[in-house]
Each structure stands twice: as C-alpha cells, then as structure tokens.
Subunit: 190 residues, 2 copies
C-alpha cells in the first residue's frame, strides 16, 4: 500500500509546504529524530511572532522510548492511542503568562504552525492532538500553576498505512475537506 499524497484541493497557488501538509495516523515506528532535527523544530517555534514579543509558549519533548514520551502517551485519550505511540516524538505545547488569556493561546497557535511547517520542510509529518488529559499532564510533570497545556504534536516519518485498523485506514485514505472559502468570509462594506 503506498503512502497517501493529499494536497489541498484548491486552484490557488499554494507553497508546497502549505499545500502538502496533512495529519496522518501512520507513522514509521522505527524512525528516530536526531537532536539537530528536534532543535530545528523548537527553533522554528521559538522565532514565531507574539504579542509584545512575550513568547508565551513552553515546550516539552518526549522521544519514543523515553519517560517523557511514556508519560505523554499515558495522558492520551483512547482515539489517539492506536497511532500516536508510533510517532518519533510527541511535543507538549503549553501557554503561560501572568494570566493565560486569548492572546497567549493564539500565540501558541502561531508557534505550533511554524513548528509544523518546519517539520514539513524536513520531510516529516505532524499530527496534533487535543484529546489528552490536561490535568494528568499538569500532575505528572508538576507544571507550575500558570502553565496551561494546549496541545500535543505527534512528529515522525509517515509510513504506508496498511497496518492501521479499518476505521483509521479509511480516515487515512479519505480526501481532505474544507468548507468553501465563501463560508469563511465575513460580510464587508464594499
């Protein structure tokens, strides 16, 4: 079974790093990330813009086989447990500030997207997960009061999907879909 290629279905000119990004569930369980690769991913996030340059993002990296990875996997909700343990790394992204408000959460989104684009440029794929226990993550890593877990990012090498369960295989092969742009546009004055 070949690796799915699922470019964005658009007539617009899109940069290949944007057009070809998607979130697979089939990762190569033998693939490992090098220290340099992890450094590049984190640096891409670090150099993101943020309101008042506050840089409210915080990171923690688990590499398949280490204690951080195991702890992050143990926080996952069931729907992610089938595939996420095969990722080469799981990155916890948290937001912090005197108060974690919309601004910090939004800026964390900017940083995560930069990390993802950097991963794409390195031949890697990513899959974000909101389905995890934030309270468990707070507890196991003894996170400070003002550090709010936001998302986990599975990072790894995509692999051919034949070992996925039927349910996940169908999602892996399904075309990507989005609302039409017209539904996303607010009504202007012009």
């Amino acid at each position: 079974m070949s690796i799915p290629h699922k470019p964005a279905a658009t007539e617009a000119q899109l940069h290949e790093l944007i057009a070809n990004r998607w979130s697979p569930r089939s990762f190569d369980v033998s693939h490992k990330l090098s220290d340099d690769q992890i450094h590049s991913l984190l640096e891409a996030a670090r150099w993101s813009p943020s309101s008042m340059n506050a840089q409210p993002w915080r990171f923690l990296v688990g590499l398949r086989g280490d204690s951080n990875f195991a702890a992050l996997v143990s926080s996952l909700k069931e729907n992610n447990l089938e595939w996420a343990p095969n990722a080469s790394a799981i990155v916890l992204v948290a937001a912090t500030g005197e108060k974690v408000s919309n601004i910090e959460i939004f800026d964390a989104g900017l940083a995560v997207s930069a990390l993802i684009t950097q991963a794409q440029s390195m031949g890697l794929h990513t899959h974000q997960m909101g389905g995890f226990s934030k309270s468990k993550v707070k507890e196991v890593f003894s996170l400070p009061e003002n550090v709010e877990p936001i998302v986990l990012i599975g990072v790894g090498k995509i692999s051919e999907p034949s070992k996925l369960s039927q349910a996940l295989l169908e999602r892996e092969l399904a075309p990507r879909s989005r609302k039409p742009l017209t539904e996303l546009m607010l009504k202007g004055l012009n």
Copy 2:
C-alpha cells in the same frame, strides 16, 4: 537606506520561510495585491488543521483604498496608525463557534501562521496587530454575536524604512530577539 534583512539568530537549520519572517513597519504604499495573491493567502489559511476539522476561522479583507480597509484602519490604536495604512491589505481574522473557547482561538493562530508563511513565499511581509478596537470592528461590520475578532494582519511589500519616524525606525533596524530556548523548555522526567 536599504531594506533590513533580519534572519532568526540561530545555529539550527531553519527553512528560509521560517528564518526570514519578521514583522516590518515600512510597507510600500504604491504596492497592490492581486486577486490571485489574496486568494492564495486565504487558501493557505483555509487548509490549516483544526480540532475536529471545525475550521473556526473567519476572514475579512480590506484593500488599501476600499471601505473595509478604511474601517479597519479606523479601529487601530495609535501605535499602529503610523505604518499600517501603508500596507496593501489588512486582513481581519476572527474566531467563531457555539462558544469561542481556547480551541477556536488556538486554531485561528494556526491559520494565521499558515497565511503568513504563504505570504513570505510570495515575497510579501506581514505584521500582526492586536492593538485595535474589537468592539468597533464588531459594530462597524455588524459581526454576529458568536464571531470574535482576534487579530488584524497587515500584508504588503516591504520598503526601505527611511520615511519612518525615529521611534519606528529604531525598531525596524533593531535585531530580532527571543528568550533562549532553555527558558522555554518545561522540566521533563528524563
């Protein structure tokens, strides 16, 4: 005066679209975006990932000279009024959902970052602004109750900065700075 080049100060390998992104204040007031360019920017955002594929982002585009642009400029706080009117476009990004929570705000951040990366790939620069009146934007565009303005993005062609006021010129020429990565890493178990 030449256009500043301000790559991220890192030893890590970063893709050029990530490394060279920064938020200038000097935009070419004669530059116009084509319809195709605007379409590419919005499509990059549209194909972002989102939790449950909910796509909670909404957009409104003002082009320098049109009514949307004028209305968005009129919502700006004073610190953005010197430079933002020279951008070719100002894009309003809002989040929506049954309830606009952290998830929708975070996903809006992902979409904005994709738009920015796409802009970079087209030789454009962007500058995000949180400094605007959200209530004014809601009112002037009669936004529905559950549509929350998040950010304005100035998009345009960077220009040499000699016309900026002294205060802005200093910021335009200053090196970009970030906290060291060590300060951004949460304490793990390993």
